[in-house]
């Protein structure tokens, strides 16, 4: 059975208002730009977006932000999109800031069926406020809850029709983690191939994590984001 969908709209059928959506990418690098673009066309609101950044001003998730569809952002670095600060100041969006390693590990834990974990990162800082502190072997740690999503939007390089994924350079980033941590996992890729064409030793995300695959129509190039 192929997981290939004919369009981004078909792939996003299960996405609804109020969902928590994990979105891969480090800024626009490795972000699922085609699926994000489709989300901006879809009649949904009150979304919680888990992503390192909220895109750039007017681009990627930045576009979704400007439409007012995002209720809350969970990420590590919102500074790269100045619109986030304006929305936050105006009380139009909630934000939860996590250290980047904590964001990644919380998603990994979510995908691995854990409730959370203890980390030294952030101990004694403003980001530890309200978090349980515990000493383990004489070292102070804080508790961080796992993160899971209703939906994950993933960018990979290639997929086979079963859903095995390989990635490309630093466009990998949060994508393989997010692919493990949501009820519905939707992937866009540069190329869809037949099972057997990907080297099993090189598969990064095994197919059981993946629900739907489309070919990317919006890609990041040296000249910026272009339609292909």
């Amino acid at each position: 059975m192929t997981k290939r969908k004919q369009s981004a709209a078909e792939a996003l059928e299960g996405v609804k208002s109020g969902d928590t959506i994990l979105v891969g990418g480090f800024g626009l690098i490795g972000a699922p730009l085609t699926l994000i673009e489709e989300l901006t066309e879809k009649d949904v609101s009150g979304l919680t977006i888990v992503s390192n950044n909220l895109g750039e001003s007017g681009k990627g998730l930045g576009k979704l932000l400007n439409q007012g569809k995002i209720k809350k952002g969970i990420g590590s670095y919102f500074t790269s999109n100045r619109d986030v600060g304006d929305k936050y100041q105006a009380g139009e969006i909630e934000l939860e800031l996590l250290p980047q390693g904590t964001l990644a590990e919380s998603i990994r834990a979510g995908g691995a069926g854990l409730g959370g974990y203890y980390t030294t990162t952030g101990v004694g800082t403003a980001l530890a406020e309200g978090k349980e502190e515990r000493e383990i072997d004489g070292v102070p740690y804080i508790f961080e809850k796992a993160i899971r999503g209703d939906v994950a939007l993933i960018r990979a390089h290639k997929a086979d029709t079963l859903g095995n994924l390989v990635y490309y350079k630093t466009a990998r980033n949060f994508n393989p983690l997010m692919a493990t941590a949501a009820k519905i996992v939707i992937v866009e890729v540069d190329e869809i191939v037949e099972p057997g064409e990907l080297n099993p030793e090189e598969v990064v995300t095994p197919h059981l994590f993946v629900d739907a695959i489309i070919e990317a129509k919006q890609v990041l190039t040296k000249e910026g984001v272009v339609s292909v």
Partner: protein
């Protein structure tokens, strides 16, 4: 000193901290002056790590730029011979788990015990932290590169940080255009070097933190 441009000052600091690194080792470079350190790396047994998922960062020529190959500052980089890619969780396992030998970071303030503030400014929205807190708890050595004073001329080496701290951990060394400091085992700053053209009087005048001369 007054004849140097901002860019020249940044390069001077980057060149100096690069001399501190002796391979084989892995080094994470932060955003700003730390990024420039890559230009002064001669030793190919020093492997540069970037937290967005690459061990083996090099410079890249304009014609070889790949939009999907960037460093933590989202600037284009190249891929060294023997490079490896990995996801964000593995990347921070390397950092938090103590597998990265050194981190070179910028700072807004450093207190007289080597505790730094580099992620938030009071009165402004707290909008970004990135990998700074993870690097502070996990890197075996942390080197700070920064200009000695802020734009208005006020000292950045203070008795106490007035901005939110990044970690309770003290850094190992601090490099400015005027001086190099190390943090002693009992968490005091010690001046170890004056930079070319700097005088001890100037360093004293522009440093609020107590330091051992």
């Amino acid at each position: 000193m007054t004849t140097m441009t901002k860019q020249e000052i940044q390069h001077m600091i980057a060149e100096r901290v690069a001399k501190e690194l002796k391979g084989p080792m892995s080094v994470n470079l932060g955003i700003g002056i730390p990024t420039l350190v890559a230009e002064y790396m001669e030793d190919d047994s020093i492997h540069l790590h970037t937290e967005n998922g690459l061990l083996g960062v090099t410079d890249v020529e304009e014609e070889d730029i790949d939009p999907n190959l960037v460093n933590a500052g989202k600037l284009p980089v190249g891929e060294a011979v023997g490079a490896a890619y990995f996801n964000s969780s593995e990347s921070f396992a390397m950092i938090r788990g103590g597998h990265v030998d050194a981190a070179i970071l910028g700072a807004l303030q450093v207190d007289e015990h080597g505790v730094i503030a580099n992620w938030a400014v009071p009165g402004k929205n707290i909008m970004g932290v990135g990998g700074a807190m993870d690097l502070l708890v996990g890197a075996k050595k942390v080197y700070i590169t920064m200009t000695h004073t802020s734009k208005d001329g006020s000292p950045k080496l203070l008795k106490e940080c007035t901005y939110p701290i990044t970690s309770t951990r003290s850094v190992d060394m601090i490099f400015t255009e005027l001086a190099v400091f190390e943090v002693t085992e009992d968490k005091q700053l010690r001046l170890v070097e004056l930079m070319p053209g700097a005088t001890i009087e100037e360093v004293r005048g522009k440093t609020e933190a107590a330091f051992i001369e």
